[in-house]
Structures are given as structure tokens and as C-alpha cells.
């Protein structure tokens, strides 16, 4: 062997060896920092989260990010934790706002002695967090309107606040936004008084002000951190960010500013009937937050999530479809073993609606009841849609989802004012479906003009999960029963969105997740001017409905409005631009040591009320921590 080659070989091996050596210490250094503090009395909570898209309240649009942001930032108002139906209550405001008689001017008194957490961005005070003022809300809402800030939340204020759209236009025209430009509708009357002036009454405003698009953000932080602001949250909330390894783990710790400035928030003492029996009022009047440290991990795979839960490393878990039969009995109760482990099951109906939409522009299934439209054609197409609604076998559908869903009967979900518990006029009924189909001009599903079976094309976004694909086949089978063929067209999500955007779908499948518990949020999906590319993807346009919608847009909450909501919902059910499929149920499993948990549709800012019984957890880990969860009952 020549010496040169021998050298090379030695070099190669040394290089490889060095490589492996280099990486090992890096590993230790990179990962060691995340360990929880050594204090044994510290109350730590662990949970599983989806990816967090940064801590900028202007940008997050998903649940996981909003939950995380709400631990650090706060708004003027928040949802009540225990009371139902949902109510808003003051958080950073001293009380609910004073509203002028015409419903256009909202005046908030802001609590004194609320401080932002310490952060180097507060250069004027040497890094000490300063007091919250009315100006912070003026700034924060302007920031949502700033085109350059790329907020996803401008829709909540769009054309609602006097002068804000002009501010937005100005931010579009220039490269840098002038935040000192006054906006008529957003004013700090004095240090602790914040006033909003609206362009028209906006009865949903109070719900809006609980959202993260209304949280107080200090201008110093935005300017100090610039593009990196989303990684450096600076808020007034109960927690602050301790560490964040994106895509992997996030850790929050108690915000020491609360103790330092003597800020006290109390656990609610008002609840729903029954809350006291469940122990939800045991901590009434005690200062929150209870938990000192919150650690969340990003776990993608459901079987790993489950293993983490049954070893007690996570406080809560969902139930995946694969695991359903092992976890719950036929009666939808917890399996014996899990019950012995002290696991508790919480189920609640969500405010989401899933549906199959018809494109009302389509020559076959569509036909808006507008002036000038051929009334016979409109009526026939409506009968066709009603027939398909009646063919939708809701019993079978619920069974397919292991009863994790409940049939939706209209656009407004249960729990929201305007929901009607009366049975749908178009329930699952094959005879009725066949009759309606014949009246629509397709006896036995045959189109008399062509002599062929009526075939409709349904567009769906993403066919990633097998469960989803099976559900689609089930729908095809339902429609086949009345002789209608459903042709499935699979798209990836972006293509699906642009097809809806361009009105190229005949049928499409989609869901709507409520932004706030007000029927208006659902009914806007049927308002003519909101047609695609707006959120009314069915392009439903009914002048009578639109007229009512314009009325309720500015109408305050009350019996009268609820009556109109019902009327509008009935119109939609009758015209059937959607097949209402279901409102999903949400199921959560919680370990015995999680206290004060109550399901909430808008759980933002609610983390501070949770409590962990560390003693119970330690004992549990001794008893069950090393046992296999399926073997506990033996």
C-alpha cells in the first residue's frame, strides 16, 4: 500500500470519527437547557400542543398559537370561565364598557397598576416593565390594521372603526407606517380611558375584544425586536415565555411581575348549576394562577401522544379513532382500566359545523331565489338539494364517527342563541328523498333529457387520512341509495381553496369553526355580498335573507334578534344550499390530578384557573407509572 493512500484512509477515518465526536457534546448542550426547575413544590403542568406559529397576537390564527399567546398577553375582556351561556367579563378593563345610546361609542376604564413584564425593550426604564395605559390599546389595534404588519385579523375591525380603514390605506401607500397618525375611532382620552368609535353598531364587538387581535402589545417591544418580535413576547399576563424550541417544546413560567406589583386575579365564584358539586368552585376567590410552570410538547403522532398520556407524562389527551374502542366502552364510558387509573372523560359539543355545500351558481344543483330567476328552475333545483339532504343517512354517519358527532339540523349550532331544537324538516328519509328527487325532475335519479344517471361532482381538499376517505365513500353510498352518483374529486388544500374561490365546485365539503358564540358568525356564510371569493362559498343569494342579515348586523342582543336568527336559519334550511352534516363532539381525557377543568369553546386566558395536584400525580406515578395501561384491571 502506498503511503499516500494509507494517509488518506487514516484521514478519512479520523474525519468520520471527529464528526461523530463533534455532534455528541452538541447534543448534550442543545438539549439540557429545557429541564424543569429543581424545586419539588413547584406545580408543573404538561400538555401536548400543535405547532406554535410565533407569539405575535396580530398574526396567529390557529388554536394552539392563540392559547399560548393568551398565557402571556391579555385583552380588555375575557370569557367567563364557568358560566354558560358564555358571557364576557372585564379583564384589563375595570368593568364592562359604557356604551353610548346609539351604540357607536364604547368607553373603557382601564385598570390601574397593571404592568408589562420586565424586558430589555423597555429602554427608558432600564428593562423594568412599565404600566399599561390606554395608549397601548390604541397602538395594538392600529397594528392589526397596518398592512405592513401582515396581520391575519383585520377582518374583525374592517369598516367598523371610524378612521381605521383610512389608517390602513395610508399604511398601504407608504413603506413605513406612521403610528402617530390619529385614528378618530381609537382614542386614549386619558391615561386610563380608552374610547372606541364605530362607524355602525357592532353588537359582536365585545366578543371580538376577547380575541388576541385585541390584546395589549407594548410598542417598545415591537420596535425593539422588529421582525423577531414574534419570538419575544412581552405581555401583562399570568405567564411569561421561559424557553421555546420551535417544533418541539415550549415552556411558560409564572410572570414574577404580578407578585412584584401586587396584582391579584381571583378564581371565579359564579358558575353554572352543578359546578359546585363537581368541585369547580372549591377554589372560588383564591388568587390565580395556580400552576407555576407549563410545559407543552409538539407531538405529531397520535400513538406517541397516547403513550405519553398513559405514562402520566401528559395531563390530558384526545382520543384517536384507532384507540376509540380500547378507551371507551359501547356506552361511551371510560374503560375499566382507565377508570381505575383515575382518568376522567370530558365530552362536550363544539360550536363547529361540517357540511357539504352546493354551488348555487351551478346550472344543475344551483339557482338562487332572486328576482329575474326562472321560478320553476329555482324550485326544481331546490327540490334536488332537499332530496340529497334527505338522503344523507345521519344515523349511519354518526355510527361511522363512533358517535363523536351529532347531526346538525341547521346553520346555528346548539349552545348559540338562535339554535332551534325542533327536528329538521328534511331529516334522513329515503322515501321523501326519492319523492323530492322525482319532483326535481330526476325520477330514480335518471336525467330524462339524457337518460343517464344524475352524476354530481364533489370537490374535497386533502385526502390524507383514511378515515376521511372512508367517510367520503360513505356519502357516495348514501346518495347511491336514491340513484344519484357522486363523483369524488380529490385536491390538495391550495387547489381546493382556489376552486372554491373561482366558483368551480359543484359540491364541496367544508367545516366552519366559530369565531365567537353568536349566530351572526354562521349566518354571514349565506350573505349574498360575501359570495366567493368571500366566505359564502356556496354563493347563496337570497334577497329576503340578505335584507334580514343587514338588519341583524347592527341589532343588539335580545329576543327580537334571536327570533330573526331563527327565521334566517329556517330560510337556509328550506333553500338547502348546504347539507348540514354534523356538529362534532369534543372528547378529552384528563388525569385525576388536573383540577378545575371545565370544557370551554374559547379556552383562551383560561389556563390560569387550572390546577395540578402534585401529590396525587406523584402517588399515581408510583402506582401506575410503570404498569401497562391495558393491564390495570387485571
Amino acid at each position: 500500500m502506498s503511503s499516500a493512500q494509507g494517509k488518506l484512509r487514516r484521514h478519512l477515518f479520523r474525519a468520520l470519527f471527529l464528526c461523530s465526536l463533534t455532534f455528541l457534546p452538541l447534543l448534550g448542550a442543545g438539549c439540557g437547557s429545557g429541564a424543569a426547575s429543581a424545586d419539588p413544590d413547584e406545580m408543573v403542568m404538561y400538555y401536548q400542543t400543535s405547532r406554535i406559529r410565533g407569539f405575535d397576537p396580530a398574526k396567529a390564527g390557529d388554536v394552539a398559537s392563540a392559547l399560548s399567546i393568551a398565557r402571556i398577553y391579555e385583552g380588555l375582556l375575557q370569557y367567563s370561565y364557568l358560566e354558560r351561556p358564555y358571557k364576557v367579563e372585564p379583564l384589563l378593563a375595570e368593568e364592562l364598557p359604557e356604551v353610548s345610546e346609539d351604540g357607536l361609542v364604547y368607553t373603557f376604564k382601564i385598570r390601574k397598576g397593571i404592568y408589562f413584564q420586565d424586558d430589555p425593550c423597555f429602554e427608558a426604564t432600564n428593562g423594568k416593565g412599565r404600566e399599561l395605559t390606554a395608549g397601548d390599546f390604541v397602538y395594538s389595534i392600529k397594528r392589526i390594521a397596518d398592512v405592513r404588519a401582515e396581520s391575519t385579523g383585520f377582518w374583525v375591525y374592517n369598516k367598523r372603526i371610524a378612521g381605521l380603514n383610512e389608517f390602513r390605506d395610508a399604511s398601504r401607500e407608504s413603506k413605513t407606517t406612521d403610528y402617530d397618525a390619529p385614528v378618530e375611532g381609537l382614542q386614549a382620552l386619558d391615561k386610563y380611558t380608552f374610547q372606541m368609535k364605530l362607524t355602525k353598531p357592532y353588537p359582536q364587538l365585545l366578543w371580538i375584544l376577547t380575541m388576541h387581535y385585541a390584546y395589549a402589545v407594548p410598542r417598545e417591544a415591537v420596535e425593539y425586536y422588529g421582525k423577531d418580535f414574534l419570538n419575544h413576547p412581552v405581555g401583562t399576563g399570568p405567564y411569561r415565555l421561559a424557553s421555546w424550541r420551535r417544533q418541539y417544546r415550549v415552556e411558560f413560567e409564572r410572570n414574577p411581575k404580578w407578585a412584584e406589583t401586587g396584582r391579584v386575579e381571583l378564581y371565579p365564584s359564579q358558575g353554572e348549576p352543578g359546578d359546585a358539586e363537581k368541585g369547580l368552585l372549591d377554589d372560588a376567590g383564591k388568587p390565580v394562577p395556580f400552576v407555576d410552570r407549563i410545559i407543552a410538547r409538539v407531538i405529531d403522532d397520535t400513538s406517541t401522544q397516547w403513550l405519553k398520556f398513559v405514562t402520566g407524562e401528559m395531563e390530558s389527551s384526545g382520543i384517536s379513532r384507532d384507540n376509540w374502542n380500547a378507551v371507551l366502552t359501547q356506552e361511551k364510558e371510560l374503560s375499566e382500566g382507565l377508570r381505575k387509573m383515575g382518568v376522567r372523560l370530558f365530552s362536550s359539543q363544539t360550536l363547529d359545523v361540517y357540511y357539504i355545500g352546493f354551488n348555487m351558481d351551478d346550472p344543475v344543483v344551483g339557482g338562487n331565489p332572486k328576482e329575474g330567476a326562472d321560478p320553476e328552475r329555482v324550485a326544481k333545483a331546490r327540490k334536488l338539494r332537499q332530496a340529497l339532504t334527505c338522503a344523507f343517512n345521519s344515523k349511519e354517519w354518526e355510527r361511522f364517527y363512533n358517535n363523536r358527532v351529532a347531526r346538525a339540523t341547521g346553520p346555528i349550532p346548539p349552545g348559540v342563541a338562535g339554535y332551534d331544537s325542533k327536528p329538521s324538516p328534511y331529516p334522513f328519509d329515503l322515501d321523501k328523498a326519492k319523492k323530492l328527487l322525482a319532483e326535481a325532475g330526476y325520477p330514480d335519479g335518471i336525467d330524462p333529457e339524457t337518460g343517464k344517471t344524475l352524476s354530481l361532482k364533489m370537490e374535497v381538499g386533502s385526502a390524507a387520512s383514511s378515515e376521511f376517505r372512508q367517510s367520503l365513500e360513505l356519502i357516495s353510498a348514501f346518495m347511491k341509495k336514491i340513484g344519484v352518483r357522486i363523483e369524488l374529486s380529490y385536491n390538495n388544500w391550495p387547489t381546493f381553496l382556489s376552486k372554491m374561490d373561482r366558483r368551480q365546485c359543484q359540491l364541496y365539503m367544508l367545516g366552519w369553526v366559530a369565531d365567537y358564540p353568536d349566530a351572526e358568525n354562521f349566518l354571514q356564510l349565506f350573505y349574498g355580498p360575501n359570495s366567493s371569493p368571500g366566505p359564502n362559498h356556496s354563493n347563496y343569494e337570497n334577497p329576503a335573507f340578505d335584507e334580514l342579515y343587514r338588519q341583524i348586523q347592527t341589532m343588539p342582543d335580545g329576543e327580537e334578534r334571536t327570533a330573526i336568527y331563527r327565521k334566517m336559519a329556517d330560510m337556509v334550511v328550506e333553500d338547502a344550499p348546504w347539507i348540514f352534516m354534523h356538529n362534532p363532539m369534543s372528547y378529552g381525557l384528563y388525569h385525576a390530578w388536573v383540577e378545575n377543568y371545565k370544557p370551554h369553546d374559547f379556552p383562551y386566558s383560561m389556563g390560569k384557573y387550572r390546577k395540578i395536584n402534585v401529590k396525587t400525580r406523584d402517588e399515581w406515578k408510583k402506582t401506575f407509572g410503570r404498569k401497562h395501561w391495558k393491564e390495570v384491571n387485571e
Binding site: 448534550g28 442543545g30 438539549c31 405547532r51 406559529r53 403513550l307 373561482r502
Partner: protein
């Protein structure tokens, strides 16, 4: 290093630039041209044309794709009517005819724009067919005053009209005056004046790349460069040990196989490697996690806290790759075993191990190097499955999430960097060839 070698390397580096440009153009066209609508994806359920217009403006998606004087506006996006009538759909006196738009209601029909045009210079472009002898008109009004008009003469024709919207005239309305004979429109497009001819998405992308800026992920709101920095170490900390251990183990076993060629040991290894190759990767992961992680509690099930957490994924990675590697290296070794020089060496009385380590291993270096160096680009992309199942925050997991959520800036950057690493790796392979095999000369 001889000057010939140096020249060769320089030339190879020069060749890399056109290839690189090809990669850039390909990723750009694939994702910007066909990647779907970022504004729709980002704004989600609350998207409206006006909000999308502003999103496009900030991110530069309203500019022409490659070059051009006219960009797009969300006020009006439909161009042809072959796929349906789009925003015209629910209007009266409007229908589709042979893939064209037919307006048959005499009088003015309003063009359904998503919002009143913002101040700028615009252009309407129209292709039409008109029967009869009366012309039709395309008219633009600002605050009820006529700003621009275009006469649509009878017959088949096309034309365009440019106009400027000054500040403060609202609403801006475009209407088409239809004569009794009706009007057929083949194409109708609205463009907004671009700053200059080269102010395009493509040159924007090139300028970004020149600054090593890969843009901002619309899914995570993070800068893509930050995300890659975050993910590269976790990926490498898994793939590099896995790669090295896998390589050492499979080469050693291959040597053993070659040494004991055609004996029971060799056969047993071949059998084992075939079995290993037939078991799905996922099976190893699930079994490993469930049995070694959960039931026996030997390894942590999930996480990225210390080197201990990487042991199980590493073992799984090595075991699942072993079958194929072992067979490959065994073949490489055996190929050499039948060469003349091996027979000569044996004839000279060199011991079996001497032949194997001094001669065969050295001569088998070329195929080994090829497979080793070509594996390097894949080290950087990480192992998607292992990262996902074991919660390792690496580039593989990041990439798969980016693909699932159509986060094209991230995918583009990953493809781009992968391509560059591949180019460098292939250059390194050639250089290594010359270094291990004196018969190869770089020219």
C-alpha cells in the same frame, strides 16, 4: 495537488453555476407558478379580495411572474371563461356559451370587481365577438365620472384601455354597455401597472437568494433561514451517527461475509439481510417505541433532551438500513474477490485477512465512496419518519409539515439547499476518486 487537478476543480465549480440556475428556475416555476394561492392559504376562512390584495402587495405576489409591465390585482382575477363563469356566476343577463362569456341584457352591465380599485395605473384587456352593427363600450367610472372608455367595434376583435385612478375618487366602477345584439367575451383581464419591466416575482426571489434570505414561512411566520438553522443540528445529530455506525457495521459485516464467502456464516448474513430488507421501516419504529420504549422502559419513547433520546431512533435507523447496505457492500467486496490481483496475492502466499484488508477493501473504495458521498445530501434532509415519531425537531419533520401545509417558501429553500449540497457532494466524489485510485486523473 497538481495544477491540472486545481484547474479541473475550478472548472467543475464553474459548471455548477448553470446547474444552480436551473435548480433556481425549476423550484421557482414549480412553486410560484403552480403552487396555489398563498394569500388564500394564509388568510384562510376570512379571506376577502381586498385582504388578499394587501397580502399580495406586502409579499410581492401581485408582480408579474418572470417579467412584464403589468401585474395582477385581486379586484378582478378571472381572465377566460372556459372553467366557468367565476365571479360572473350569480349575475343576471350573463351566461356561458362555448367557453365564452355571453352578455345578452342590453344596457350597462357592471363588471363584478371585488372592491373599488386602489389609486394606481390599470389596464383592461378584452377579446370580444359582437354581432349587429352597433358597438359596445367598456367604460370606467370614478365617483360617477367617466374616466376611460373603449369602443368594442362589431366583429371579432381585441383591444385594451389604460387609465389612472387618482386618489380620492370612489367608487371606481367598470361597466360594459351591451347593444341589443348581445356581446360575447372570450377574455377579460385587468392588470395593474408594474414599477418597471424587471420588477417581478422571479427577480425578487433572485435578489432574496443573493442575500441568503429564503423569505418568511407563512405557516410558522418565522424566517425560513431561522427555521433551517433551528432544524439542521437535530437532523444531523440523528443522521450522522446513524450513517457512520451504519457504514462501519455494514462494511465490517460485508468483509466478514466476503471472508467466509459461501459458508454458513455468509449464507446466514445474506438471509438476515433479506429479512431486514423486507420489514417496513414503520414496523421497526412502532415496535421499538412500544416494546423498548413503553413496555420495557429501556429508552425514552419520545423527545429530544439528551443523547440518550437519540439512541433508539439511531438503532432503528441502523437496523432498518442494514439489510440493503450489507448486501450492497458484500457484492462490492465479492466483485473484487474474483479479480486477478486477488488470485495473485493468494498465490504469493498473502494471508486471507491480508488480502481482504490490504487489497480488497482498498480497491472496493470507489463504489463505497460513491455511495457514501451521495448519501451526504440526504443526511441534511434528516429522516422524516424517525423525526416525526420521536419528536426530533429536525429538517425532515419541518419539510414534511411544510409540504402538508403548502408552505412553499420553506420547501423551496429545502430543495434549493439540497441541490447545492448535492452538487458539492458530487464534486467531492470525483476528487476522492482521484485520491483513492491513481488510475483516475482529473483533467
Amino acid at each position: 495537488m497538481s495544477s491540472g487537478t486545481l484547474k479541473y476543480i475550478l472548472r467543475r465549480i464553474a459548471y455548477m453555476f448553470p446547474t444552480l440556475l436551473g435548480i433556481i428556475i425549476l423550484t421557482f416555476v414549480l412553486f410560484n407558478g403552480f403552487g396555489g394561492d398563498p394569500a388564500l392559504i394564509k388568510l384562510g376562512k376570512h379571506a376577502t379580495p381586498e385582504l388578499m390584495e394587501e397580502f399580495d402587495l406586502v409579499r410581492g405576489y401581485d408582480k408579474p411572474l418572470i417579467i412584464g409591465n403589468w401585474g395582477t390585482t385581486r379586484a378582478y382575477r378571472t381572465e377566460t371563461f372556459k372553467e366557468g363563469l367565476s365571479v360572473w356566476g350569480s349575475m343576471e343577463g350573463v351566461s356561458q356559451k362555448d367557453g365564452n362569456l355571453l352578455l345578452d341584457k342590453p344596457g350597462e352591465t357592471r363588471v363584478p370587481t371585488g372592491f373599488s380599485l386602489h389609486p394606481a395605473e390599470y389596464r383592461w384587456k378584452i377579446d370580444w365577438s359582437l354581432g349587429g352593427d352597433k358597438p359596445a363600450w367598456l367604460k370606467v367610472y370614478g365617483a360617477s365620472n367617466l374616466i376611460a372608455e373603449l369602443e368594442l367595434v362589431p366583429g371579432n376583435s381585441r383591444g385594451e384601455v389604460t387609465f389612472e385612478i387618482p386618489k380620492g375618487i370612489e367608487p371606481v366602477i367598470t361597466a360594459i354597455e351591451v347593444p341589443d345584439s348581445g356581446l360575447e367575451i372570450r377574455k377579460l383581464a385587468l392588470g395593474r401597472k408594474n414599477r418597471h419591466f424587471f420588477d417581478s416575482q422571479f427577480f425578487f426571489y433572485i435578489r432574496q437568494l443573493a442575500r441568503f434570505d429564503f423569505g418568511v414561512s407563512h405557516e410558522t411566520n418565522q424566517r425560513v433561514s431561522t427555521m433551517i438553522k433551528d432544524g439542521i443540528l437535530p437532523s444531523l445529530s440523528l443522521t450522522v451517527p446513524m450513517f457512520i455506525v451504519g457504514l462501519l457495521v455494514s462494511i465490517s459485516l460485508a468483509l466478514i461475509c466476503a471472508f467466509y464467502r459461501d459458508t454458513l456464516i455468509d449464507r446466514a448474513f445474506v438471509l438476515v439481510s433479506v429479512v431486514l430488507m423486507s420489514v417496513n421501516y414503520l414496523v421497526w419504529i412502532v415496535l421499538g417505541q412500544y416494546i423498548l420504549g413503553y413496555s420495557l422502559r429501556i429508552f425514552p419513547v419520545w423527545g429530544y433532551e439528551s443523547a440518550r433520546y437519540l439512541l433508539l431512533p439511531c438503532i432503528i435507523g441502523v437496523v432498518s438500513g442494514l439489510g440493503a447496505n450489507l448486501r450492497f457492500y458484500r457484492t462490492v467486496m465479492l466483485d473484487e474477490m474474483y479479480r486477478d490481483y486477488v488470485r495473485t496475492a493468494f498465490a504469493k502466499g498473502v494471508s486471507k485477512s491480508g488480502v481482504l484488508f490490504k487489497h480488497v477493501l482498498k480497491n472496493a473504495m470507489i463504489p463505497i465512496l460513491t455511495s457514501v458521498v451521495m448519501a451526504i445530501p440526504f443526511l441534511y434532509t434528516g429522516s422524516i419518519l424517525l423525526e416525526t415519531f420521536f419528536g426530533i425537531p429536525g429538517l425532515g419533520r419541518m419539510g414534511i409539515n411544510a409540504i402538508n401545509s403548502s408552505d412553499f417558501d420553506v420547501v423551496k429553500a429545502l430543495v434549493m439547499i439540497g441541490g447545492v449540497i448535492y452538487l458539492i457532494a458530487s464534486l467531492l466524489t470525483d476528487i476522492c476518486y482521484a485520491m483513492v485510485d491513481p488510475r483516475i486523473k482529473l483533467k
